[in-house]
């Protein structure tokens, strides 16, 4: 097991009170696994990704643990966490386009980053060039400022830089969302290539777009309103999901070949609960077509089949 997360809770501090953005999540990622993390905006997927590398000032660690390769990540301690960042855990942020220092040439910026980890730029330069070749970027980019690159090129440059020290865990947050479909495909396939070449051991690929996860992820974890709904191998989530939310979500996706006139898709009525004061019990209860009395209690996240976890009372009925 590469990563094991136990009952992790991270809340946001706001003037109105605490927003329970990540409320007790437990899951694990195997070696070499690309786990897709899917959900709607505000479901806590970015919070989960961020909490494994850096808590922003407004985020507060409440409890739980994350163990990476047998070592516990000191999530609550920003100083101690620094030793893990970049070397063990790395991230490609949501806005990779603006992730680079605009006042430094890319090569120099990379050098400064490596220096902070006591790695010499010159010793790693050959490897850096090999990886630039892999993502089809010319070596000239090292002598360029970020502004000289197109969005897709910056994205690829950030991918190379953030994985340069072969981190064990890579968190890719909505990296393909702002790209055109053709570039999107290229970037997603490069990330898979990075895993295949063992530049990274395992990966959390955060996105709202389930169809891209179907292309590249080994497993998919679906979140809803700060809680886990379902986790299973990709094929299982797409073809035989068990949580009502996952089912409705997947059946609402238009895909090439579906026409309004022939097959009318349905959305999910209602909207997610406010996480400032979330309702007790199952958080999907209000929108769920199969909710029953038991749903006022909170459902546990249990393994119903091999590697298939789900948090729904309906699935535990026969058990």
């Amino acid at each position: 097991m590469s990563l094991q997360v136990e009952d992790l809770r991270v809340y946001y501090q706001t003037l109105a009170g605490e927003v329970q953005a990540l409320d007790g999540v437990t899951f694990s990622i195997a070696d070499g696994e690309i786990m897709g993390l899917a959900g709607e905006s505000g479901c806590g997927k970015t919070t989960l990704g961020n909490s494994l590398i850096r808590l922003s000032a407004r985020m507060r660690y409440i409890g739980g643990s994350a163990v990476l390769d047998g070592e516990e990540l000191p999530i609550w301690d920003g100083e101690r966490m620094n030793a893990f960042r970049f070397e063990k855990v790395s991230m490609i942020p949501q806005y990779a386009m603006s992730a680079m220092n605009p006042t430094r040439k890319i090569g120099r910026m990379t050098g400064e980053l490596l220096e902070s980890r006591k790695v010499s730029y010159h010793s790693i330069l050959p490897e850096l060039k090999r990886r630039l070749d892999l993502v089809e970027l010319s070596h000239d980019v090292l002598n360029m400022y970020p502004i000289e690159l197109s969005g897709g090129m910056k994205q690829r440059a950030v991918m190379v830089i953030s994985t340069l020290l072969n981190p064990s865990l890579l968190i890719a947050d909505e990296v393909t969302s702002a790209l055109d479909v053709s570039t999107q495909k290229a970037v997603a396939e490069m990330l898979v290539e990075f895993r295949d070449r063992e530049y990274v051991n395992s990966m959390i690929f955060i996105t709202h777009d389930i169809s891209i996860l179907y292309q590249i992820a080994d497993t998919i974890l679906v979140m809803y309103a700060g809680k886990l709904a379902e986790k299973a191998p990709t094929e299982v989530i797409i073809n035989s999901p068990r949580h009502p939310y996952t089912r409705l979500l997947i059946s609402s996706l238009p895909t090439v070949g579906v026409k309004y006139a022939e097959e009318k898709l349905k959305g999910i009525p209602g909207h997610p609960p406010m996480l400032l004061d979330p309702p007790s019990g199952c958080r999907f209860r209000d929108r769920c077509p199969v909710a029953f009395d038991k749903c006022v209690e909170e459902p546990p996240f249990l393994e119903v089949e091999d590697n298939h976890f789900v948090a729904c009372w309906r699935e535990f009925e026969d058990a």
Binding site: G152, D180, V181, S211, Q215, V256, Y260, K266
Partner: protein, 337 residues
């Protein structure tokens, strides 16, 4: 009804406007009554520029846009206002369309002051309620609220309801669901389809091929401001002809097919830094079929079958189907459905 004829738009860019950027070049298409037409393209394809020109927000550099036979660039004052009674737009970001310090329903008041000053308060209220119900909103839940109290889907529907208060014939919908969550976007899409069945024409601008297919009767595929393929959605998707359309179809992530099953390699800059400034095909720089003939003049749109046009010289040689898809490429085309 709406007819876009040879429309081009050139922007002045650079420090003193010395450089020219050709955003849209010689684009022609039409939208019939009760029809949904998709404008599909990636960023920089000029799709939003075309939408803005139709809405009269910017003026075209060349060509004409006519609505029911009237050139819209000649409209002034009262007649322009009349035009806006019939043609309205809804845009991508519902959150920045509203002024956060006013209540969201202020958008209705603006319409009333401008177009319906004579309508009495009570009558106006019932008109607003009717319009809200027709877009699937409950008036009690969304009137008298601030924008942050409503969801993106609700805000977007409020804007559609606002447009419906006028006697609109054409709605320009520019990426209106790309910022919405999966569970709510389909409802807004279905709403558009409902409006269409009630006789509204819609110009649906999107970068998402699957959304374009779901809702539209006809589609126009744009690349760098030029139409590369257009015609019936059904025909374009089941038999994409232009290499760019084929590449797009192959790159779209789908739930029924993995990327490995399609062969085209995406995003290769085959002829780096090639610019179609001196004429020639705009797609030449990335085209796997390209050869030196492609740099000679802009390919014209050729009708390959009824209501299916493509702009690629490969199809021009030897008449229809003469030298169609070179062998091997045919396997890569992804037949829809």
């Amino acid at each position: 009804m709406l007819n876009v004829e040879n429309v081009s738009k050139t922007y002045q860019v650079g420090a003193f406007g010395g450089k020219k950027l050709q955003a849209v070049s010689e684009v022609s298409f039409d939208v019939q009554d009760g029809e949904v037409v998709s404008l599909i393209g990636e960023s920089g394809s000029g799709k939003s520029t075309i939408g803005r020109m139709i809405l009269g927000l910017i003026t075209e550099t060349a060509g004409t846009i006519t609505m029911d036979g009237v050139d819209i660039s000649t409209l002034r004052q009262e007649r322009l206002k009349d035009y806006y009674r019939h043609v309205q737009g809804v845009f991508q970001d519902p959150f920045s369309t509203y002024n956060p310090i006013f209540k969201a329903d202020r958008v209705f008041k603006i319409i009333k002051d401008e177009f319906f000053p004579e309508v009495k308060g009570a009558e106006w209220k019932s008109m607003v309620s009717r319009s809200l119900r027709s877009v699937g909103l409950n008036p009690d839940q969304c009137l008298d609220k601030f924008p942050h109290q409503l969801s993106g889907g609700q805000l977007q529907r409020l804007l559609i309801a606002r447009a419906l208060l006028l006697d609109i014939k054409l709605l320009v919908a520019d990426e209106i669901i790309s910022m919405l969550d999966a569970s709510t976007r389909i409802d807004v899409l279905n709403l558009l389809a409902d409006l269409k069945s009630r006789g509204l024409s819609i110009l649906f601008i999107t970068h998402d091929l699957s959304l374009g297919y779901y809702i539209s009767d006809r589609a126009v595929i744009l690349y760098q401001g030029r139409v590369v393929e257009k015609g019936s959605t059904e025909k374009i998707y089941s038999n994409p002809l232009h290499p760019y359309t084929r590449m797009l179809m192959a790159s779209v992530p789908r739930l029924d097919k993995k990327w490995d099953e399609v062969e085209i390699k995406a995003d290769v800059d085959l002829r780096d830094k090639y610019l179609a400034t001196g004429g020639g095909c705009v797609y030449y720089g990335r085209c796997p079929w390209g050869d030196k003939d492609c740099t000679q003049g802009t390919p014209a749109l050729i009708e390959m079958e009824s209501d299916h046009y493509v702009a690629c010289i490969r199809y021009a040689e030897g008449g229809s189907g003469g030298q169609a898809a070179p062998s091997g490429e045919a396997a890569a085309s992804t037949a829809a459905g």
